[in-house]
Symmetry: C2
Subunit: 341 residues, 2 copies
Amino acid sequence: MSSSGGRAPELRKDAVSNRWVVFSPARAKRPSDFKSKSPANPNPPQQKCPFCIGQEHECAPEIFRVPPDNPDWTIRVIQNLYPALSRSLHEPSASSLESAHTIGNCVLHGFGFHDVVIENPVHSVQLSDLSPEQIGQVLLAYKKRIEQLASHESIKYVQVFKNHGASAGASMSHSHSQMLALPVIPPTVSSRLANLKDYFEQTGKCCVCQIGSEDLVINSSANFISLVPYAATFPFEIWIVPRYHSAHFHEMDAEKAVDLGGLLKLMLMKMSIQLNNPPFNFMIHTGPLHGKGSETAYTHWFLQIVPQLTGIGGFELGTGCYINPVFPEDAATVLREVEIP
Amino acid sequence: MSSSGGRAPELRKDAVSNRWVVFSPARAKRPSDFKSKSPANPNPPQQKCPFCIGQEHECAPEIFRVPPDNPDWTIRVIQNLYPALSRSLHEPSASSLESAHTIGNCVLHGFGFHDVVIENPVHSVQLSDLSPEQIGQVLLAYKKRIEQLASHESIKYVQVFKNHGASAGASMSHSHSQMLALPVIPPTVSSRLANLKDYFEQTGKCCVCQIGSEDLVINSSANFISLVPYAATFPFEIWIVPRYHSAHFHEMDAEKAVDLGGLLKLMLMKMSIQLNNPPFNFMIHTGPLHGKGSETAYTHWFLQIVPQLTGIGGFELGTGCYINPVFPEDAATVLREVEIP
Ligand SMILES: Nc1ncnc2c1ncn2[C@@H]1O[C@H](COP(=O)(O)OP(=O)(O)O[C@H]2O[C@H](CO)[C@@H](O)[C@H](O)[C@H]2O)[C@@H](O)[C@H]1O
Ligand SMILES: Nc1ncnc2c1ncn2[C@@H]1O[C@H](COP(=O)(O)OP(=O)(O)O[C@H]2O[C@H](CO)[C@@H](O)[C@H](O)[C@H]2O)[C@@H](O)[C@H]1O
């Protein structure tokens, strides 16, 4: 690692995000010293909250549970009690969505779905404590809910995400994730698709299928590879990418879900050991629903994990460029070498 | 304000940012209760730091001071001791900048300038404590430094920004701002320009000249208007926009600088009173350097102020969409009515 201290800064961008990132060792503590100062609070084991088993009456309505109809549930998918979008508004018509593409100020009714996935019944158990099979079940719950949401013609995208720890935005400490189903394609998704399309048109290949040079790979499994992206926005950012071409997360079958569960568990454990249990977010980047068939040739879903180690400031807010003090090769080396006790 | 509690969520976008924002009162505390829980620490008056007068030897080299050659300076522009980009690398050639537009992974040497503007000599004095004339002098220091940086053909954009308070990213509490001069046009700037160009081509008008419907305006001065943007990304976000058409911040003259200083001071004071001295960032959004002449017809600089009241989470990281619990009309009403004691 010591090499990066004297390395000159670089600007990098990759073909997926197509966004300049400033790599700046002068702003770095050495990568191996780069520990979170505010570890996500370990959950007090005795605490009870609305997401705990037995407290179901304190929650917004349930959508489904795993296993079905079982008081001894392992996973619950429920409505968010303070939803950002409302499922009780009229679904926007095709024409109102059309008119949202006009120039100038636009407004749409806030129709959409905002759900919470309670990942396990016990307050003190974190996602990385679960077995690959159990994490696989959580991933399959996302899949099932996306399939339900896809039945709404007006839902264009489902963002699956997890906040872990207060400085990653979490307001509830009981292990959970969220799903927000939107009537529009969000900006990150449309610009990613445009970049992937450009790459495909120029090379005839899916850009994400090509990803993961040796120095950036952390670990791999039968169907997935984990790596630090070439132009990682954040220090120790990790992507888990399917090794098979697939546009949509919800195409994944049960066997692959367990495989992904294992690699996700490994990455969360490595991050926790190496970076002192940092707060983190993960996001599933998938294809839009009801997209053009031609999109599937160049769309390739992946999962992004971002430990929250550094804040941002006016530079990032102003430019959309990020300053990352840790070179991706160095982060990958560190994460590759972490030993799980 | 009570009205917004029962209001249905909306998705909005404006022509400048062209990015969907979710307005979601269900996630709001009522706007007048929406006070920062972590006010920016008032500076201990006795403290001394490298930015204080008399401590100049602890700083990286000075670029200029105001007044020039005066030990009793009021403003200093200095090099950043831990620069994100390096002024001592070779300037990238036109051809290396060209090749940075190719598809796939790209890398550029991290050439650029990273400066700090010390806004006043005294540790305990904040920007909003200065007079309109004094703030005008700070703005003119930005202008002078941008003009110097513009002499480098390879510098494409200068981002001026201020971090105030730890949760807005500040690592130094002595009142200061920063300037980062980049060899590339950052993503926020290129997408803003593309949006403004579209608007201009469809309407024949500058979109920013049209901005500021009555319900969104906070205050105005001879040459500037302050408002909450129609699709504000953050609660109580404020834009200060020149009422005259101008592509570049650094075209501003001394008289207008004092006028802007007064309106900026008023906004910072109102924010501090209404929102309990929140941490904040401000960013100057201006035109690229050495741009095409045709760009100036639709490029219009402005200053954006963002109080840091809410965090973000996986949804925002994943989608680039933001959830704002406060409707812009409500924020504007509150800020319009704040009385300065
Ligand atoms: N009894 C109950 N029944 C059902 N649902 C309940 C409930 N009690 C609480 N909830 C919901 O549970 C969710 C818990 O979510 P998180 O802790 O991941 O973060 P939150 O959504 O609060 O905000 C973070 O994530 C969002 C999205 O990224 C950011 O906008 C925000 O700034 C950040 O703090 C909340 O959305 C809450 O509304
Ligand atoms: N003696 C000295 N002489 C000269 N310069 C000195 C100095 N001592 C310190 N400095 C510099 O002064 C600057 C002070 O800047 P701020 O407090 O606004 O935030 P900082 O840049 O640390 O990071 C915030 O802003 C950046 C950019 O938005 C984000 O990347 C980051 O996450 C956020 O914390 C630092 O950049 C530091 O390098």
